[in-house]
Subunit: 345 residues, 2 copies
DNA sequence: GTGAAAGCGCTAACAC
DNA sequence: GTGTTAGCGCTTTCAC
């Protein structure tokens, strides 16, 4: 297993030229054709491959970008990572996966670890945020792009999406179907997604022309299990909702399960909408009506921002907003073929 | 954003001691108590954090392990990565995510990139394997652990699972339920999982006491979409299967969808089993009967093997086999909560 | 117990 | 166009 790797010096000796010429011939510029030939041959014979560490030390560039989330198992994060990878890999960047933990404090701790200099930048999705974390991000020794909340006013580049408007679109959709008692199934309010989605619901139902009844239930977590539990409470209310707008697809699936437990048909008795438009929701039975927040696109956008920052770390903070889109499927509309709603942005 | 990071030399100057003492005081051994105090104080004042690259160059150790799969979006791979992360992170290792691509050649190409020396080892799940790839793995400049096929006979440490036996268990299960026409819905036969699962099916149905009818259909891919398509063919045969054993959960879900299209009830008309026991299957409606291949555990096992190899790269190749387990759920066995033609379609 | 100095592998001035 | 050399930040002999 252990074949010792050849070094540039060895290639130089083999080719019978200087170290500098060897380096130039392989990576740099300004070497003669003959020189390049000669060095390439020697390198090939030795199976030479440039040492990434030596290179990094010299160039002060690791060619690595960290991607940090609370839980890499979450399908939305995986989708975002795919987008990031897609953009970064062709530019020669490797992606290092890290965990923020659940809290703002543990995320701040992770930011501090950036001082180790093992990556050229970090794309982070903080589940919870506080002032200390924002400060920490602002002082980070490498460029940081935040996915989630708009932060350019704090001098931090960010990719956001209008999930509040997305919830609004979902509410409007079920109302347009004639539903009169709208239940909102949210996740923890002290999280970034939880708070903005709550705001979206509150705004939607306080619109002048909104006349339906409402009910709100907050799940302990953005998971199916927590969704089932909270949805039960929602469905057991005296005024049973005839539509449930869930804050993400997992909660929505929990709601569908809870409805089934009670012998309710989805969508006939209860229409259910999700958010994130995960593959899970797309293949679910019934197919889930869901508000896409452009997960992969958010990842790509964050990666592009990062590429810009690696070239000029002191460029002004930018902010990209990715549009939302409602996909109407079977969970709200009987025998719905996939059909697009209007863009929420 | 750009606060220049302090270097060890600066800490040394600040503390008024030598570079060597500073290094020893912070990481090494053999420094006096007073020295440690003094250096720590200086380091704290400067907000010093050791540079990972400089350290790596000197120690010839990156503290990084690569995890390479064909498609990071696959839920099984995500689950495995979770297991890997869980074991490696506490040991100070970072996980670098890489893509093998679909073919043996592209995977071999990735193995070659290890000569760059940016990781201390690689855990890889090759979708397809050939001799050149195995050779390449054997000659890798860093320890490699393969998840998928047993390879210790080739001198390569590996984590495997008996998916063939798992398919056998699934077949036996549906037969024990009284099913008489067993359809096998497999993925591409030239892949590692495809071939071993096929073998499992062939063995199961050639047992002496196996008397049911069989049918086999191979999907273009291990995805829901491909599963739907192949399952349609299976269900449209003159002798329609009353049970479908699928090679993974995604294919199984495709089979359930195809059954619904035809107005068939699952499990009444067709029982369906999956493999991998993904969360997707667990929350599906109906909940999916599935053979667990211990995804997270395979990840953990691979990570533990890797930890051993980083300590002694020339240790003999080991092989760990992770057990399979059949979880019986609604897709094969009617339960309190089943469908009475009350689904959204 | 502490300091001086070498060197991990590489690139980029700088001289010729 | 090519060679010589310094040095990125760190650890670790080796003297004292």
């Amino acid at each position: 297993m252990t074949s010792t790797r050849a070094t540039l010096i060895q290639v130089a000796e083999r080719a019978g030229v200087s170290l500098a010429s060897t380096s130039r011939a392989l990576h740099g510029t300004g070497a003669s054709k003959a020189m390049v030939e000669r060095v390439r041959a020697a390198a090939a014979e030795l199976g030479y491959s440039a040492d990434a560490i030596g290179r990094s030390l010299r160039l002060k560039k690791t060619s690595q970008i960290a991607f940090a989330v609370a839980d890499i198992g979450n399908p939305v994060y995986v989708e975002i990572m795919r987008g990031i990878h897609e953009v970064l890999a062709p530019h020669g960047y490797r992606v290092v996966v890290m965990s923020t933990g659940d809290t703002a404090a543990s995320t701040a701790e992770l930011m501090r670890s950036l001082h180790g200099g093992f990556v050229d930048g970090m794309i982070v999705i903080p589940l919870r945020t506080d002032d200390e974390l924002i400060e920490q991000i602002g002082q980070a020794p490498v460029p940081v792009v935040v996915i989630g909340r708009a932060m350019s006013d704090r001098g931090i580049s960010s990719v956001s999406t209008d999930s509040a408007a997305g919830i609004g679109a979902a509410v409007q959709h079920v109302v347009s179907l004639g539903r009169r008692r709208i239940g909102f199934l949210n996740g923890p309010l002290d999280t970034t997604p939880g708070s903005s989605r709550q705001r979206g619901f509150d705004e939607a139902v306080s619109a002048k022309d909104f006349t339906a009844g409402t009910a709100v239930e907050v799940a302990a977590d953005f998971t199916v299990a927590a969704g089932i539990e909270a949805a039960r409470k929602l469905l057991d209310r005296p005024q049973r909702p005839d539509a449930i707008v869930a804050a993400n697809d997992l909660l929505a699936i929990g709601a569908i399960r809870a409805a089934r437990e009670r012998g309710l048909s989805v969508p006939r008795d209860v229409a259910v909408t999700g958010m994130d438009d995960t593959e899970l929701g797309q293949v679910f039975l019934p197919r889930l009506t869901s508000v896409s927040l452009g997960s992969a696109e958010r990842g790509r956008a964050a990666a592009r921002l990062m590429l810009g920052l690696t070239e000029d770390a002191d460029a002004p903070a930018q902010q990209i907003s990715v549009g939302t889109e409602l996909f109407v499927r079977e969970s709200t509309q009987d025998s719905a073929m996939d059909q697009k709603g209007e863009d929420a942005e």
